[in-house]
Symmetry: C2
Subunit: 354 residues, 2 copies
DNA sequence: CTGAAAGCGCTAACAA
DNA sequence: TTGTTAGCGCTTTCAG
């Protein structure tokens, strides 16, 4: 490995001169600077990033703590981060498989957490006496943080409400929801759905909610069985969303629910639901309208193409990095940055209003 | 930030004692060691990973140079790497968006490259005077390296041949191939297909090959148009494979090819082909048999479920890391490690032999 | 058993 | 304009 010392020796100056020449800082006589650059080139010199980091107290690395790498949406967030990080000479590590207590052993300047829930866990686990700046993506979940953490937030309470209003504008009054969580969960999506059903549509709740989990459908043994079977395979959550969507379709069909539309917790689950419900003989959107949340490309390839509430994942990823870097640069603004959603109309919702 | 010096001051010993106590190396009196550990705990001390790296000349980081993060297969490779890396206290950076010349500024001990082609580019670009250990995944492409690079190889010449033999055993004698590359490309898959068609099936080649690229189908203006449209969006290659598969189906249909089976360059392309060809009225596998390569989960959700040649991506990822670490530990064995493939029979191939 | 000292590769304040 | 020096946080001889 070639060091600045080597160059200094070769040229016959001291390391500081070499350093100044290479960094374009301080005074160096033109001839020497040229000579130094030439020799550096010739020797194939590359600055040692570790030494730089030690001295500058900046690793130029960020951790994005994300477990599910097969999820298009997560990766989209990540791509946004990479784009913004690149511009600033930063690198983003993506990993969410290890325990939080490994984090201090990583060479990072800050952490981006994927949602409020995990942020809560993080803060409880090591956030107390560990000091790295943290930024979290957020979907308007109602989670209490012991410390204030800057949020890049897509308000899915508002997003869900917007989606339901859209469905209502198409004549739908009985709108079922499928989810991985139970009806009492504090997911903004669920809360918004409940509120809309109760106060806007004056409908009952219980019959129209399908939460594929122990609490949500505890009297259905398939759920339990399904959950047990799947616990071993923690790696592929996509499969889990998709398959749980299929299971939701089975149950929906069995119970002969009179909903005219179904909204899913996310696109993947909705696509799973769509696949199975079609197998069960439903024509989408003739017999039943379907709407998802996220805006993943698989929705576009679905038959019919899935109408969805698009979350600007890339944008969120970018903003996460921007915010984190601004904190690292000393701007202490603890804040919430909002990122808007948008309904993307495709072919899975039918207008039944006339 | 708490340092060993702080602990030393507090306990009233020197840094070296603290270091020894914390590292369990050398002699430290029991009482002191305990006291030191206690104080370290109390102060919330964490060793500074950058300082460690500088001193040990090991960053404990590996780069996996991969561009397409939405590709299930790539991520599967990555997951394999993570698993193996975790075990050894290593972290794997995944990124393939930046130029090779940024690599020296990264805090890494070694690099894993996704295929022979990129490895060739890497070596040409900076491999000459840059010295980091490199390992490459390989699919038996015929690429010349100026330096020997250890390969973790899935032999897709053999894999393709196996697949074609399987198809033949089901009675297929006219087997088309769809690909992103042209017939003259040195992809093992293409070569194996050509050889099998020529020498085993004694068939012509040109009519049965659909390479969605300028050279391959230069007389089809849609290809050109399609390529131009898509060049802006370099981020989503999945989409590109999938959509090119659809285009291949259009052309296949138009030309009224008499093939009874189609084999795809990979699963994604084959799934795109499947989608469109169904829209065009084909019943799969009644009218046409389909086979892919990779073994991605989407194949399982396809209608019909896709028969494929499964590549053990996770296994390859693991072995890439194992090999790289063994090089870092001084084992100089430059070698090729083979990873087997396996045909996974689902519903997309029909037996027409009787 | 302990601590001083040198060094990993680099920067920056200061003196020359 | 240049070189010396101290120091980033840690490890590792090597005298004591």
């Amino acid at each position: 490995m070639v060091t600045r010392k080597d160059i200094a020796n070769k040229v016959g100056v001291s390391v500081s001169v070499v350093s100044r020449a290479l960094n374009n800082s301080g005074y160096v006589k033109q001839e020497k600077r040229k000579e130094i650059l030439r020799v550096a080139e010739a020797l194939g010199y590359h600055p040692n990033p570790v030494a730089m980091s030690l001295q500058q107290k900046r690793t130029k690395q960020i951790l994005y703590y994300s477990k599910d790498l097969n999820n298009f949406y997560n990766i989209e967030l990540y791509e946004g981060m990479l784009e913004e990080a690149d511009k600033n000479g930063y690198v983003v590590l993506i990993n969410g498989r290890f325990n939080f207590d490994i984090i201090p052993s990583l060479m990072i300047d800050g952490i981006i957490l994927p949602n409020d829930h995990i942020t809560g866990q993080y803060l409880d686990a090591i956030g107390k006496n560990y000091h790295l700046p943290v930024v979290t993506a957020s979907y308007g979940e109602d989670v209490y943080f012991s410390k204030a953490v800057p949020k890049i937030e897509t308000d899915l309470y508002e997003g869900m409400r917007k989606s339901l209003e859209y469905l209502r504008s198409k004549g739908h009054k009985k709108i079922a929801m499928i989810s991985l969580y139970d009806i009492g969960s504090y997911h903004a999506r669920t809360l918004a759905w409940i509120d809309f059903m109760q106060y806007e549509l004056e409908s009952t709740i219980e019959d129209y909610h399908f939460g594929i989990n122990k609490e949500g459908l505890h009297n259905d043994e398939r759920v339990m069985q399904f959950l047990e079977e799947r616990t071993t395979d923690t790696t592929n959550i996509w499969e889990s969303y998709y398959e749980k969507g299929m299971l939701a379709a089975d149950i929906f069909h069995e119970r002969q629910i009179d909903a005219t539309a179904v909204i899913g917790f996310n696109d993947e689950m909705t696509l799973g639901f769509c696949k199975r419900i079609k197998q069960l003989g439903y024509d989408i959107p003739k017999d039943l309208s379907l709407m998802g949340i996220d805006g993943i490309p698989a929705g576009e390839y679905n038959e019919p193409r899935l109408t969805t509430l698009e979350i600007q994942a890339r944008e969120m990823g970018k903003k996460c990095v921007q915010e984190l870097l601004s904190i690292l640069n000393g701007c202490k603004e603890k804040c919430i940055i909002h990122v808007p959603t948008q309904i993307v109309e495709k072919d899975s919702v039918r207008d039944i209003s006339r």
